[in-house]
Amino acid sequence: MSKLILTVDDSASMRMLLKASLTAQGYRIESANDGEHGLERMHEVKPDLLITDINMPKMDGFELIEAVRAEGGFKGTPILVLSTEFSDEKKTRARNAGATGWITKPFEAEKLGAAIRRVCP
């Protein structure tokens, strides 16, 4: 079965865009609209990969990553950050929180696919 990716982004258009371009590349997609929702969905769908935005209401991406990593069951799940941010400070923070990689928005579908394969074969 194809890989299941959970995308977390508070923007509906971004979620749809991700879904459209990743479905086209053969992935199955589940979505959540903020960090809290994302954490719940992690438990429900147990994705092969988590792609999360950083700036979101309720629980931001950093908090989500930390929460996911704090759960024993997701230790081996790769997490990619997809954000318009690109500062080293933020990237370091994400890595320290437990992110596997960082992709800067806007993304090209092809490069996004390559980035995913880099962490999730």
């Binding site: 923007s11 147990k46 690109f86």
Partner: protein, 729 residues
């Protein structure tokens, strides 16, 4: 795909609108002194999201501008820059530019000139706040020390060391364009850091990716491998050296290492030359490492244990990756999070239309059944359910009127800049829910009313001070629901309507005869007469060739009306009275000169059959009815519509209706046929609007009946007199 993209983009634009509303609310709150972290964060997030989406959809100018704005907001959010009042004002102007950019992205406007604003935002960021000069009248310039690194944070930091991975490597250009037979092969050395396994990273995948570029492993570095006792299964010990064809772009190789940790070693060099050759001797031969035969089994077990780690690190769907479900959030139902769903408005409209048809069919069915059958429980039950469906569909279309109000603050800022008047805005009841169709259609009338109030109503600061008022004008925008109607008011504290001037102008324009005797209220209404404009000089604000008459006709087209109340020296209130829904009406079916009309039941007080002598003629054109000692004016709709009606009043019925403007009035009708819920169908735009008619409907038997607009019908009879063309049929 492109259709799908268009659809997603449409949603993005909706999000932009929502984001702009949030940002503006936040900035307004900041202007009023609320600089809490949550407020600042909400503005930041809104701008940030707009930027993110804009980038995804390729709106370069919007992205660029939002980027500068976002950087400044980020610095404010991080406490690097103090959100002083002057700074918030600058950000409000930046917000306006951002709105213009969004409009441009949607194709509704040209791309705004933003170079100055970007320079200003970037300048503030570099300086760590507004300069003293910019602070201008600021009571307390920010005492905050300038944050020198704020500027640095704003630039893409390509030159800085990237924590995700790689240090710059200098490549000798001479090697590139060197020689025979194309560029030399790349030598890529990769030694993962410990962090690369910790975050579910998989260095092996990076190696595989380099292999897809044509790379082949020429050496594996096991030099760091500790003895078995010290082996940490979550640490990385291997290093690889790969040879990649020289024709591959260096950036393509670099991309593979995008996610490796900062402590990882990534070296990419051309094979020729000292650097590449120097690296080679450092790589021990794998076989040399495992040479002693006794160690071989140990080594195998080490490799296996590492293989296990990597298997856990990247579970494939088939394997049993740890599935111990955390207990932290198990009992929260998943429905709780998806409380909203976006629906294309066209689908809602279609649903509404279908429900309307259902209502009509229901009444047709009811007509065809015998009265005994009509009493059976099924039919009333069906009618009740239909009504419930209808109410629900209507509520789906209800939106807070805030959406219509949202563009007012911007407009007032622009108007303030154009007129030099400082105008405060008070908003009351902006959560009042109204049909989306109404919200969309009141935008233009509202804009005009606000412009009118700002331009004609509010005086200049000098004039206000002379009149003993505060120099700043105030416009109060309010909405409230009363019964099935929504009242939207624009109240200014300006000079009020100059009735002498209005009357003189109306006479000059030939709207009323010079000898007309008009009450104050009637004079006020003249503002809404077609082609009326009081401004001596046509300003570019409200004198655009369309006047308040457009407001009136727009509002009337919605089945509403406009009221004007003015107190000289104290201000003017424009009130739009609108129906809550545009679709359904509880009506009384009456006959006028043999034709059927629908009279909205909401207005009906009682119905009487007049006794001889109960109706009296006071003047040749006016009749009254004696209602238990109280005299109420009588209107004959037949006269207003020009229908032939010779029926004596004693053979007619008088329906007493209550109106907002004229109080109780008796309306003469032939007979009352029925009471029915009707679905309002608007009259075609091509038809000349007839005062007194609000729309049409299809009755149970399939015939068409016109719907009476009671307010317009009973409103001042003088209207028809002073505006012969346009207002009366």
């Amino acid at each position: 795909m492109s259709d799908e993209l268009d659809e997603i983009q449409a949603i993005f634009f909706e999000e932009c609108t929502e984001g702009l509303t949030v940002a503006e609310e936040g900035l307004s709150a900041m202007q009023n002194g609320d600089t809490s972290a949550d407020t600042i964060a909400s503005v930041f997030r809104a701008v940030h999201s707009i930027k993110g989406g804009a980038g995804a959809f390729g709106h370069v100018a919007l992205t660029h501008f939002a980027h500068s704005f976002e950087n400044l907001l980020d610095a404010v959010r991080g406490g690097k820059i103090e959100p002083t009042l002057p700074l918030v004002k600058v950000m409000l102007i930046a917000f306006d530019t951002l709105s213009d950019h969004v409009s441009a992205a949607t194709g509704q406007a040209d791309v705004p000139e933003d170079a100055d604003m970007i320079a200003r935002l970037d300048g503030i960021l570099v300086a760590g706040g507004l300069s003293d000069e910019d602070e201008g009248l600021a009571p307390a310039p920010s005492a905050q020390a300038p944050a020198p690194d704020a500027a640095k944070a704003s630039e893409p930091s390509a030159e800085d060391a990237d924590p995700f991975g790689f240090e710059p490597v200098t490549v000798d250009i001479a090697q590139l364009d060197g020689d025979k037979g194309g560029p030399a092969d790349w030598l890529v050395r990769f030694v993962p850091g410990n962090g690369d396994l910790a975050n579910a990273g998989e260095p092996l995948l990076v190696v595989r990716e380099v292999e897809t570029l044509g790379g082949e492993i020429i050496a594996v570095d096991l030099g760091d491998m500790p003895g078995l006792r010290d082996l940490d299964t979550e640490s990385a010990y291997f290093g690889w050296t790969l040879r990649v064809p020289g024709t591959v772009e260096e950036s393509a190789i670099r991309d593979c290492f995008d996610f490796v940790s900062p402590e990882a070693v990534v070296e990419i060099t051309r094979e020729e030359g000292a650097v590449a050759m120097a690296a080679a001797p450092e790589l021990p031969d794998v076989r040399a490492q495992v040479d002693p035969a006794g160690d071989l089994d140990q080594m195998l077990s080490v490799v296996q244990s590492i293989a296990e780690v990597t298997a856990v690190a990247s579970p494939s769907p088939g394997t049993d990756a740890p599935r111990d479900v955390g207990t932290k959030y198990p009992d929260k139902p998943s429905e709780a999070v998806s409380q909203t769903i976006r629906v294309d408005l066209a689908k809602l409209d279609m649903l509404l239309n279908l429900v309307g048809e259902l209502v009509i069919r229901n009444s047709i069915l009811s007509d065809r059944l015998s009265s005994a059958d009509q009493q059976r429980v099924e039919l009333p039950e069906l009618a009740r359910l239909t009504r419930q469906i209808q109410d629900n569909v209507m509520s789906l279309r209800a939106q807070p009127i805030r959406q219509a109000f949202s563009r007012v603050p911007r407009m007032l800022r622009d108007l303030g800049a154009e007129t030099g008047k400082n105008i405060n805005l008070e908003t009351i009841g902006d959560t009042t829910e109204v049909d989306k169709g109404v919200i969309e259609k009141i935008g233009d009338p509202l804009t005009h009313m606000i412009r009118n109030a700002a331009d004609h109503g509010i005086e200049s600061a000098e004039e206000r001070i002379a009149a003993g008022k505060s120099p700043d004008g105030t416009i109060r925008l309010s909405a409230e629901q009363k019964g099935a109607r929504i009242f939207v008011r624009v109240k200014d504290d300006g000079r009020g309507i100059n009735r002498e001037k209005v009357f003189a102008k109306a006479v000059e324009k030939g709207i009323v005869p010079a000898d007309a005797q008009l009450s104050n209220e009637e004079i006020d209404q003249l503002i809404c007469a077609p082609g009326f404009s009081t401004a001596d000089t046509i300003s570019n604000i409200s004198g655009r060739g369309v006047g308040m008459d457009v407001v009136r006709s727009n509002v009337e087209a919605l089945g509403g009306r406009v009221e004007i109340a003015s107190v000289p020296g104290e201000g003017t209130t424009f009130t739009m009275i609108l129906p809550l829904t545009l679709a359904i009406l509880d009506g009384m079916i009456v006959r006028l000169a043999g034709q059927r009309f629908v009279l909205p039941l909401a207005h009906v007080i009682e119905t009487i059959q007049p006794e001889p002598g109960q109706v009296k003629r006071t003047t040749p054109n006016n009749e009254v009815i004696d209602m238990r000692g109280e005299y109420l004016p009588i209107k004959r709709a037949t006269e207003i519509f020009g229908l032939n009606d010779d029926r004596p009043i004693e053979d007619s019925l008088v329906v007493i209706v209550e109106s907002d403007t004229a109080g109780q009035v008796g309306l003469v009708v032939d007979t009352i046929d029925d009471r029915r819920e009707v679905v309002i169908k608007s009259l075609d735009q091509n038809l000349h609007p007839i005062r007194g008619l609000g729309g049409a409907t299809i009755l149970g038997d399939g015939s068409i009946a016109l719907i009476l607009d009671i307010e317009a019908l009973v409103a001042s009879p003088t209207q028809t007199r002073f505006s012969p063309k346009g207002m009366a049929a």
